[in-house]
């Protein structure tokens, strides 16, 4: 989660200060971030399901308050994965054509940061019952 959030913040910040960081550097960092992001998403899903398995039969029912929060979090994770594919494809296309678009990159990574912060907030909310 730290890698996903920290990386998105870094690319967003680099894109926002476009006068100081060259566009090629921003794209290079963004491309590396995409590898880390998708690797981390796979690990998050794997460990997340493992954590649910640790509850065993004590897993609260979906109709409970905790269950509703879990369902909201799972839907948010699905949305993050779905909305991240166009971001990665756009970064790959920009790297391929060597035409970085700072505004678009800022919007993509700003959006990713907001979604990841929301999911982290849901995780903390779940952990505290």
């Amino acid at each position: 989660m730290a890698a996903i959030l920290g990386g998105a913040l870094l690319v967003w910040w680099l894109g926002a200060r476009r006068n100081r960081a060259s566009a090629a550097v921003v794209l290079d960092v963004a491309e590396r971030y995409e590898w880390i992001f998708w690797g981390a998403i796979g690990l998050q899903v794997m460990t997340g399901v493992g954590n649910l398995g640790a509850f065993g039969q004590a897993l609260p029912p979906s109709a409970s308050g905790w269950g509703t929060k879990l369902i909201v979090k799972l839907v948010a994770v699905l949305a993050l994965a779905l909305l991240s594919v166009p971001r990665t494809l756009a970064v790959v296309a920009m790297v391929g054509t060597k035409q970085p678009r700072a505004g678009l990159l800022s919007a993509f990574y700003g959006g990713t940061t907001v979604m990841v912060v929301a999911i982290a907030g849901l995780a903390v909310w779940l952990a505290h019952g």
Partner: protein
Amino acid sequence: MAERAIGDRNLLVVFTLGTFHAAVLIVALVLVLYAAGGLASLLSGLSTIAGLALFIALWATTVWSTNRTLRGAFTVAPRTSVPPDTLIARAAWRGGVNGIMFLACVGLILAISSAFNGDLAFGVIGAGFLVFATVGSAVAFVIGFVVGLLFACVDLALVSATRAILNNEKSRP
């Protein structure tokens, strides 16, 4: 050098879509099972190590299957050089093959897990193998085929959305 860079970018697209498929499939299954009330009994019957091994197996076979589907399909993502209907047919077929590969991994992982727990006899392994190799493979192929078809449609919609975003951004003054 340039070819290597293109290869790296294509590999990133393969890894992205493969991971996207495996992650979304598992999260969607967890969501449906949890809402239906069947998740606790399923997960409590699975050891942590076996669960992790199953996900890694699904992740690996799905990335491999995505790689086979997209082979030669793009030059610079997301501009595909293969007609969408060909890609969809290829994705559905590869999805079916992926289903059988994953089923084989499931059989192997569960057999090893049971052997370590000491609750598996050779007769049970043999009977299990026969079921996996016949009926199981056919069912796994059909499920994989349908899932592959669905994900191919989702992927093409996402590629179209990406093109639209890039074109819209390009046309701005």
